[in-house]
C-alpha cells in the first residue's frame, strides 16, 4: 500500500475514520448533548465531499487494481455524501422528537455511505460483495432504529432477511463469473471475455444472478416487495436516504459491472432488462394508485422511478447510446434525488409520534395553511410527474430520448403512459393539500425548511439550464479499462 493508493480512496478512508472517531466521542458525550454529534457528522461529510470533488478529473486504479477512480465515481460519491447531509438535516429534529437520538445513528450512516462509495469504486468482484454488505448491514440497523416500534423492527428484519437472500444471489453470480473466467477482478474478467476463453453459458448465468441481486437493491420488479414495508417502517430520514442513496449505489454498480463485463451478452440480457424495466414501471405506478399512506405511496413511486432508470439501461450493450444512457441516468438520479428528498422533508414535517400524520388525509388543508410547505410539495409532485419547468421533466425527457434513440420506442411509450397514471396519485396529494379543508399539524424546523425550500428551488432553477446539467453528468464518464 502506497500513499498514492490511499489517495485514490481518500474520501472513503476519511469517512470510515471519521465514523470511528464519532463512535469514540459518543462514549464521552452526555445524552442531552447528542446534537453535537450531528454537527460533527455533517462536518465530516462536508470534508469528505470536498475531498471527493477535489478528485474530479483524476482517474486510475489502486491497491493492485482492486479499486478504480473515475469521474463516474466522483459524481456518485458526491451524490451519496450530499444525500447523507440531507438525511442528517431531516433527522436532526426528527430523531429528538421521536426519542431515538442515539450516537450510533451517525456512525452507521457514515459506514453505509463509505460502503456505497466503495461499491462504486470497486474493481474486483469480491470487493463488490464486501462493499455491498458494508453498505447494507448499517442500513438494516438504521431501518430498525425506531425500536421498540414494532413496524421499525419488522422493517429491519424483513430488509435483513431479504437482503441476505439477495446477497446470496450476488455471491452465486460472482462464483459463476469466476467459474466462467477463472478471474474475479473486473480487469481480469474483461481480459478473459476478450480473449474468448470465457465460458459463455456460465458467464450469462452469473450475469443474471448479479442482475437479480442488484435488482433487489434498486427495488426492481419482481424483487421489489420489500421496499414498501421497509420504507414504511423505517425512520423517515432513513427512508429518504435509502430511496435516494441506496438506489443510486445499486445503479452505480449495475452500470459499472454490466457495461464493463457483459456488453457481449447484450443480445441475451437486453430482453430481460426490457421486461424488468417495463414491469417495474407498470407495477410501481399501478400499485401507487391504491396507497393511502404517504410513505408507502412514495415507496411505490421510488419503485416506478427505478423502472424509468432501467429503461435507459436496456440498450447498455449498444456502444452508440451507452454514453448517452449513463449521462441521462445520472441526470435522472440527480433530479429524482433532489425531488424525492424534498418530498420526504415534507413528510418528516408532518409526521407525528407513533406513525400518525402519515395518511394522505393528513395533508388536507396544508396548502392554504402552510403556503411555503404546500408550494414546495406541489413542486415535488409536479417534478415527480414530469411536468415542464421542473427537473423531473428533463430527467424523463432525457431518459425517453435515450430509449427512443436506441430503438426502444415501445418502452418510451410505456414510460409515457405510466407517467400519465402517476399523475393521478401525485396530483391527488396536491388536490388534497389545496382543495380539502383540514387542520394539518406541522413540525416547524429550520433544517427541514431549508431542505424543502432548497431542493424545491434547485428543482425549478436547475430546470432552466437542463443542457448544462446534462453536460455535467456527461462528464461523469465510466472508466473503461
Amino acid at each position: 500500500m502506497s500513499l498514492s493508493d490511499l489517495m485514490m480512496v481518500l474520501p472513503i478512508a476519511f469517512t470510515l475514520v471519521w465514523a470511528l472517531v464519532l463512535l469514540l466521542i459518543d462514549l464521552w458525550l452526555p445524552r442531552e448533548r447528542q446534537g453535537i454529534l450531528a454537527l460533527l457528522t455533517a462536518l465530516g461529510l462536508a470534508v469528505a465531499l470536498g475531498l471527493d470533488l477535489a478528485q474530479s478529473g483524476r482517474s486510475g486504479s489502486a491497491f493492485r487494481d482492486m479499486v478504480v477512480l473515475d469521474n463516474f465515481a466522483v459524481f456518485l460519491n458526491a451524490l451519496y455524501l450530499i444525500s447523507g447531509l440531507i438525511a442528517l438535516a431531516l433527522g436532526y429534529d426528527y430523531l429528538k422528537r421521536m426519542e431515538m437520538e442515539r450516537g450510533e445513528f451517525y456512525a452507521l450512516l457514515l459506514f453505509s455511505i463509505a460502503g456505497m462509495m466503495l461499491l462504486t469504486q470497486a474493481n474486483h468482484l469480491i470487493l463488490v460483495f464486501l462493499a455491498l454488505e458494508f453498505l447494507s448491514i448499517p442500513l438494516y440497523v438504521l431501518a430498525g432504529f425506531a425500536r421498540p416500534r414494532l413496524e421499525s423492527e419488522e422493517a429491519a428484519l424483513k430488509y435483513f432477511l431479504l437482503g441476505a437472500f439477495s446477497s446470496a444471489f450476488v455471491l452465486y453470480g460472482i462464483a459463476l463469473v469466476f467459474g466462467a473466467t477463472a478471474n474475479a477482478s473486473l480487469t481480469g474478467v474483461i481480459e478473459a471475455v476478450r480473449s474468448g476463453s470465457a465460458e459463455v453459458g456460465f458467464l450469462t448465468a452469473g450475469a443474471v444472478m448479479l442482475l437479480v441481486g442488484f435488482g433487489f437493491k434498486v427495488a426492481a420488479v419482481p424483487f421489489h416487495e420489500w421496499a414498501p414495508d421497509v420504507y414504511q417502517g423505517s425512520p423517515t430520514p432513513v427512508t429518504g436516504f435509502m430511496a435516494v442513496a441506496t438506489k443510486a449505489a445499486g445503479f452505480a454498480v449495475l452500470m459499472r459491472i454490466f457495461l464493463n463485463l457483459f456488453p457481449g451478452l447484450a443480445t441475451s440480457l437486453t430482453p430481460i432488462f426490457w421486461g424488468i424495466a417495463a414491469l417495474t414501471m407498470i407495477v410501481g405506478n399501478l400499485l401507487a394508485l391504491a396507497q393511502s399512506n404517504i410513505k408507502r405511496l412514495l415507496a411505490y413511486s421510488s419503485i416506478a422511478n427505478a423502472g424509468y432508470l432501467l429503461m435507459a439501461f436496456v440498450p447498455y450493450g449498444n456502444a452508440q447510446v451507452a454514453g448517452q444512457a449513463i449521462s441521462s441516468m445520472l441526470f435522472y438520479l440527480l433530479a429524482y434525488g433532489l425531488t424525492t428528498f424534498g418530498a420526504w422533508a415534507v413528510v418528516v414535517a408532518l409526521e407525528q409520534a407513533e406513525g400518525r400524520g402519515l395518511t394522505l388525509e393528513d395533508y388536507a388543508g396544508l396548502g392554504p395553511k402552510y403556503p411555503w410547505l404546500g408550494v414546495t410539495m406541489l413542486i415535488f409532485m409536479l417534478s415527480l410527474t414530469g411536468v415542464p419547468l421542473t427537473l423531473g421533466f428533463w430527467g424523463k425527457f432525457f431518459l425517453f430520448r435515450t430509449a427512443v434513440a436506441a430503438g426502444y420506442v415501445d418502452l418510451a411509450i410505456i414510460g409515457l403512459l405510466t407517467s400519465v397514471i402517476s399523475a393521478y396519485y401525485y396530483l391527488r396529494i396536491v388536490v388534497i393539500m389545496y382543495m380539502r379543508a383540514g387542520e394539518p399539524r406541522v413540525r416547524r424546523d429550520g433544517w427541514l425548511n431549508l431542505v424543502a425550500i432548497g431542493t424545491a428551488a434547485a428543482v425549478v432553477l436547475l430546470s432552466v439550464v437542463p443542457v448544462q446539467m446534462l453536460e455535467l453528468t456527461a462528464r461523469a464518464v465510466l472508466h473503461l479499462p
Binding site: L211, F216, I272
Partner: protein, 659 residues
C-alpha cells in the same frame, strides 16, 4: 414591385404611421393616466388624438397631390419565413387616404360630439366611471380602422378587420348589463360577434387561398398576378372572390349576414354613427374596391356582388318602413345604402361606390348624431315630466312628434340629412346615388330597377320619420318637455350638415375630382357619363317618396302612440311582415341557431359526458381495480416476498434456456 425597391419620394408620406400611432397614444394616455382626469380632459385627449390622425391624413393628401402615385411606408418586418414575408407597412395611395380622411374626419367630429353625449349618457345609465372606457374604446376603434385602411397586405388588413370587429363588439355591449331583460345589449353584442365570425371565416378562407395560390399577401404582388391566375385557375379566383364576399356580407351587413346591424343599435348613439354607419361597415366596400383587380377577372363574382348589394338595398329599405325605433330605421337605411355601395363596387363602378361611401358617411353620421340629440332631448323631457317613474322608450317615434319647435336646430340638421339621404338635389346623396344608378343602368338594368325602387322607399321612410318625429303635436309628455341639446352636441351636427350639403361637389358632374383622384389607384376606372334621364328619374322618385310620406303621415299626423300606422291601414298584412322584418331572425333561429344548439347539446351531453368522459373514467377505474387486486400479493409475509423473488429468477432462467 417590392417595397424595398420603392423609396418614399414624398417627405409627407413618412408621417403615415401617425394615423395609427396617434390614436394609440390617446389610448395609452387615457388608460394609464386618465383615472384621475376629469371627463373633459379624457374626452379632449381622445378627440385630439383623432384630430391629429385627421391632420396626418390631410398631410398625406397634400403629399399625394404632388405625388399621386403614392408610396409604401415600411415600419417593420412582421413575419419572415423562407420566401414568405409579411411586413408591417403603410400604404399611402389615393384610395387609402380617402378612407383615412373619412374615418378620421367623421371620427373626430363624433369624438367631440361624444364628449357632450356621453356626459349625459353615463349619468342617465348610472355609471359615470365608464366615460373613460368609452373613449379608450373609441380611440382603439380609430387605430384599428386605420390599420385596416392603411394596410399594404391582406394580413395587416385582417388585423384591422378583426380589431374593428372587436371594438364593435365592445361598444355594442357598452351597457352590457342593460337592455331587454338585463341581457339584451349583451345578446346584441354577441350576435354581432358571432355573425361577423361567419363572415370572417369566409375572409380567412379567401386569405388562405390567396396565400397558397399567389405565395404572397402583398396587395401589389397579388393584384399583379390576378390576370395570370384567372387564366390558369379561374375556379380558384372565383372561390377567392366569393369567400371574400362572405366576409364583406358580414362586415358590411349584406344579405345574408346583415341581421346583426339592427341589433347593434344597442350601443351608444355615437357608436352607431361612427362604427355602424360611417366607417366600419364600409370596410367591406373598401375591400371590394381595393380588390377590384381580382373581381374584374371574375364576371360571376361581379354579378353576385352586384345582386347581393341590390337585393340588400331593397330588402332593408322595405323593413325600414315598418320600424318605430328612430335608430332602427336609420340602421336599416344604413344596410340599404351599403347595398347601394356594394352593388356599385360589384359592377365595377368603384368610384361611384367610394363616392357614395363618403357622402353617406357625412349624412348618415349626421342623421345618427341628430337622432342621438333627439333621444337626449326626449330623456331630458321625460325626466322633467311628471311621469318619469314610468318606463319610456326614448327612441320610439310613436311617442315623439312636434319636436320641430322644441329642438329647432336638431330639426334643421336632421332635415338636411334626411333630404341628402333621400337624394334630393343638390344635396350630397343625390349626386352619389345618381352615379350608382347611372352605372347600374348601363351594366345591370334589372338591378337598376331594384335600386330605383329602393331609392323611392328611401325617400318614403325618411319622410315618414321626419313626420313622426318632428311634425304634428307631441304624443307624450317627454316630447312635450323635450329641450335642445348643448352646443358641444349640436356643433358637430352643423359641420356634418354643411358637409352633407356640399359633399356631393367632390364628384359632381363636370368636377369629377374624386374620379381623377382615385384613378391613380383604381386604374380601371371608367367614367360614367352623366345622363339627364337618370338624374331626373332619381330626383323624381325621391320627390314622389317624400310626397307619399307627406300624404300618409304629414296631412293627418298620428294622434296618439297607440294609433295604427297609416301605412299599415294601406298595406295591411304586408305591413305586419315589414314590422316583423320579414321574420328573417325567426327563420335564421329555426334553421341555424336551434339545430346548432341541439347538436351542441347532444355532443356535450351524449358524446362528451357519455363517450369521452366514459372512456377516460373507465380507464381510470380499470387501473384502480388492477391496483387493488394486485395489492393482495403484497401481503407482508417475507416468505411470500422471497417466493416472488424466486419466481422472478426462475422466469428469467427459463427464458434464457428456452430462448
Amino acid at each position: 414591385m417590392h417595397m424595398e425597391v420603392m423609396s418614399v419620394t414624398e417627405p409627407l408620406f413618412r408621417l403615415a404611421p401617425g394615423v395609427v400611432f396617434l390614436p394609440v397614444a390617446g389610448i395609452l394616455l387615457n388608460l394609464l393616466l386618465g383615472e384621475r382626469w376629469s371627463e373633459k380632459v379624457v374626452g379632449w385627449i381622445a378627440s385630439l388624438a383623432t384630430v391629429g390622425a385627421f391632420g396626418v391624413a390631410v398631410a398625406l393628401a397634400v403629399g399625394l397631390s404632388r405625388h399621386p402615385e403614392g408610396a409604401v411606408v415600411p415600419l417593420l418586418t412582421w413575419i419572415h419565413i423562407g420566401d414568405f414575408r409579411v411586413d408591417w407597412a403603410f400604404r399611402v395611395d389615393t384610395l387609402s387616404v380617402v378612407m383615412m380622411l373619412v374615418v378620421a374626419g367623421v371620427g373626430a367630429l363624433i369624438h367631440i360630439y361624444s364628449i357632450g353625449y356621453m356626459h349625459e349618457d353615463v349619468r342617465h345609465n348610472g355609471d359615470p366611471r365608464r366615460f373613460r372606457r368609452f373613449f379608450v374604446f373609441l380611440n382603439l376603434f380609430i387605430a384599428a380602422m386605420m390599420i385596416l385602411v392603411s394596410a399594404n397586405n391582406f394580413l395587416m388588413l385582417f388585423v384591422g378587420w378583426e380589431g374593428v370587429g372587436l371594438c364593435s363588439y365592445l361598444l355594442i355591449g357598452f351597457w352590457f348589463e342593460k337592455g331587454a331583460g338585463g341581457i339584451g345589449n349583451a345578446l346584441a353584442a354577441k350576435k354581432a360577434f358571432v355573425v361577423n365570425r361567419i363572415g370572417d371565416f369566409g375572409l380567412l378562407i379567401a386569405l388562405f387561398l390567396i396565400f397558397v395560390n399567389f405565395g404572397s399577401l402583398d396587395f401589389d404582388a397579388v393584384f399583379g398576378q390576378a390576370s395570370h391566375l384567372a387564366q390558369v385557375a379561374p375556379g380558384v379566383l372565383t372561390a377567392i372572390t366569393l369567400f371574400m364576399l362572405l366576409g364583406v356580407t358580414g362586415k358590411s351587413a349584406q344579405i345574408p349576414l346583415y341581421v346583426w346591424l339592427p341589433d347593434a343599435m344597442a350601443g351608444p348613439t355615437p357608436v352607431s354613427a361612427l362604427i355602424h354607419a360611417a366607417t366600419m361597415v364600409t370596410a367591406g366596400v373598401y375591400l371590394v374596391a381595393r380588390s377590384q383587380a381580382l373581381y374584374l377577372e371574375v364576371p360571376l363574382a361581379q354579378s353576385t356582388v352586384t345582386w347581393v348589394g341590390g337585393l340588400t338595398a331593397l330588402l332593408a329599405a322595405t323593413i325600414a318602413l315598418g320600424q318605430y325605433d328612430i335608430k332602427r330605421v336609420l340602421a336599416y337605411s344604413t344596410i340599404s345604402q351599403l347595398g347601394f355601395m356594394v352593388a356599385a363596387v360589384g359592377m365595377g363602378a368603384a368610384v361611384a361606390g367610394m363616392f357614395h361611401l363618403v357622402t353617406h358617411a357625412f349624412f348618415k353620421a349626421l342623421l345618427f348624431l341628430s337622432a342621438g340629440s333627439v333621444i337626449l332631448g326626449m330623456e331630458r323631457g321625460h325626466e322633467a315630466g311628471h311621469h318619469h317613474q314610468v318606463e319610456l322608450d326614448p327612441q320610439d317615434m310613436r311617442y315623439m312628434g312636434g319636436l320641430r319647435q322644441r329642438m329647432p336646430l336638431t330639426f334643421w340638421v336632421y332635415l338636411i340629412g334626411a333630404l341628402a339621404l333621400a337624394g334630393v338635389a343638390p344635396l350630397a346623396g343625390f349626386f352619389s346615388k345618381d352615379e350608382i344608378l347611372a352605372a347600374a343602368n348601363l351594366k345591370f338594368p334589372a338591378v337598376f330597377g331594384i335600386l330605383l325602387f329602393s331609392a323611392l322607399l328611401t325617400a318614403l321612410y325618411m319622410g315618414r320619420q321626419l313626420a313622426l318625429v318632428f311634425f304634428g303635436s307631441p304624443r307624450s309628455e317627454a316630447a312635450e318637455k323635450a329641450t335642445e341639446s348643448a352646443p358641444i352636441v349640436t356643433a358637430p351636427l352643423v359641420v356634418l350638415a354643411g358637409l352633407s350639403v356640399v359633399g356631393g361637389l367632390i364628384n359632381a358632374p363636370g368636377i369629377y375630382a374624386l374620379e381623377h383622384w382615385l384613378e391613380h389607384t383604381l386604374h380601371t376606372v371608367e367614367a360614367i357619363p352623366f345622363q339627364w334621364t337618370i338624374a331626373a328619374s332619381s330626383l323624381a322618385v325621391a320627390l314622389i317618396g317624400l310626397g307619399l310620406a307627406w300624404w300618409l303621415y304629414g296631412q293627418r299626423p298620428l294622434p296618439s302612440p297607440r294609433e295604427t300606422d297609416p301605412l299599415a291601414r294601406l298595406l295591411d298584412g304586408v305591413y305586419h311582415a315589414l314590422e316583423r322584418k320579414w321574420w328573417v331572425d325567426e327563420i335564421y333561429h329555426a334553421l341555424f341557431v336551434r339545430p346548432y344548439q341541439v347538436l351542441a347539446q347532444g355532443l356535450a351531453q351524449a358524446v362528451d359526458l357519455g363517450v369521452i368522459d366514459g372512456i377516460v373514467n373507465g380507464v381510470g377505474q380499470l387501473a384502480r381495480q388492477i391496483a387493488l387486486w394486485w395489492r393482495k400479493w403484497q401481503n407482508g409475509y417475507v416468505r411470500s416476498y422471497a417466493l416472488t423473488f424466486v419466481v422472478g429468477v426462475v422466469l428469467i432462467v427459463a427464458y434464457l434456456l428456452l430462448r
